[in-house]
């Protein structure tokens, strides 16, 4: 292809009279092409506090027994915070470690390690909230072979309730309620950690959110640990498509249905037997209750 380009440019001697110019162009093309293969990272900040949350969610809205739980982590820095699945953080760390390896080598090293630490599809995102320009949350996720990005201005209308104070994990907590993306939430926050942040997109209270759940208890985040740790907050650099929150949710379900069709039609996937195929299809079918409803 590079040769083709050089030949092509040769058709216009008025612009490319000097032969060295062609050589230089070829070299530039090669460099650009090779650069396209490497995974790039952006180091946005360093964390001051690391909060671990347990996210419990009902995967199937019609089945209470479909409760799942997954570890999530909130890295709070000076300029931004990052909310991510523990397993996804591990996966990103491996990508960071092997970032200079060729893709085939990196993949073969990474995949066996991440197979045992899978990320539920409803937790497979990276969420960044920016400081001090508070109120901007950026969610990124890889769905349907495309990197999607949702940028939202956060404006939670919190209803602070008095005289409902309690203690969670030894932290004195206050009570508040709000509505977000089709659900009503009850939150406990602590003034002892004056960080206006919390799990998922939640924030805007005078203290850190310790526990938050919707009124039907289908989605619940509980703080399980907090530590002061300084480590780099990094993000993977990808060419993303900007979408709205509604479009992002649609893409999640589309991703599930596309995988469903691939397994059903044996499209590049070979199930061990009919039973395992049926199990996988049932599992995918039951994934219908993402945290945001539109």
């Amino acid at each position: 292809m590079v040769i083709k380009i050089v030949l092509l440019t040769g058709e216009f001697p008025s612009l490319f009279k000097i032969f060295e110019m062609k050589k230089l162009l070829t070299l530039i093309l090669c460099i650009i092409s090779l650069n396209a293969l490497t995974q790039e990272f952006i180091i946005a900040d360093s964390s001051n506090i690391l909060c671990s949350y347990n996210y419990q969610f009902q995967e199937d809205s019609t089945n209470r027994n479909s409760l799942k739980s997954h570890g999530m982590v909130l890295e709070i820095g000076t300029y931004c915070s990052k909310f991510i699945s523990v397993n996804k953080l591990f996966q990103d760390s491996l990508l960071f470690v092997f970032k200079d390896d060729p893709i085939d080598v990196a993949s073969k090293k990474i995949i066996p390690q991440v197979m045992g630490s899978r990320v539920p599809p409803f937790c497979n995102y990276t969420l960044m909230k920016s400081y001090p320009k508070k109120g901007t949350a950026t969610t990124t996720g890889y769905l349907n072979k495309t990197h999607l990005k949702v940028t939202e201005k956060q404006s939670f209308n919190w209803n602070l309730i008095r005289n409902r104070d309690t203690t969670i994990l030894g932290l004195p907590c206050k009570f508040a309620t709000t509505k977000f993306a089709g659900r009503t939430y009850r939150a406990w926050y602590t003034l002892d950690i004056p960080v206006s942040d919390g799990p998922y997109k939640f924030g805007g209270l005078p203290g850190l959110i310790v526990s938050i759940a919707d009124t039907q208890d289908q989605h619940r985040f509980d703080l399980t640990g907090i530590e002061k740790r300084c480590r780099k907050i990094f993000f993977l650099k990808n060419v993303s498509v900007d979408v709205s929150a509604e479009e992002y949710v649609k893409a999640i379900y589309l991703n599930i249905s596309q995988l469903y069709n691939r397994i059903q039609n044996n499209d590049g996937i070979t199930p061990a037997n009919d039973e395992s195929k049926a199990d996988a299809l049932n599992r995918l079918k039951s994934r219908n209750n993402f945290i945001e409803i539109y």
């Binding site: 292809m1 083709k4 008025s14 092997f98 070979t270 996988a280």
Partner: protein, 78 residues
């Protein structure tokens, strides 16, 4: 005078066309080489379901890992 203007116009069109071809060429070459060099087949062991990522061409390590995990999640849960 008219001949001069015509020549100028011709040159502008020629330059514009060259630039367009150059941009198209750059984009196409970039993608083609990237895909060719990174086209690999990653075996996926999703427990009860096995497959290969035949669509790995031109994908980053992150994207390949994501595709692999998605398949494993479907067959094994999490």
């Amino acid at each position: 005078m008219i001949l001069k203007k015509f020549k100028m116009k011709k040159n502008i069109i020629k330059t514009g066309f060259t630039m367009l071809m150059l941009v198209l060429g750059l984009t196409f070459t970039n993608n083609a080489i990237a895909k060719e060099l990174s086209c690999i087949s990653v075996p996926i062991d999703g427990g009860d379901g096995r497959g290969t990522i035949g669509i790995a061409c031109g994908y980053t390590a992150e994207e390949i890992a994501q595709e692999a995990l998605q398949l494993a999640e479907a067959f094994c849960g999490y």
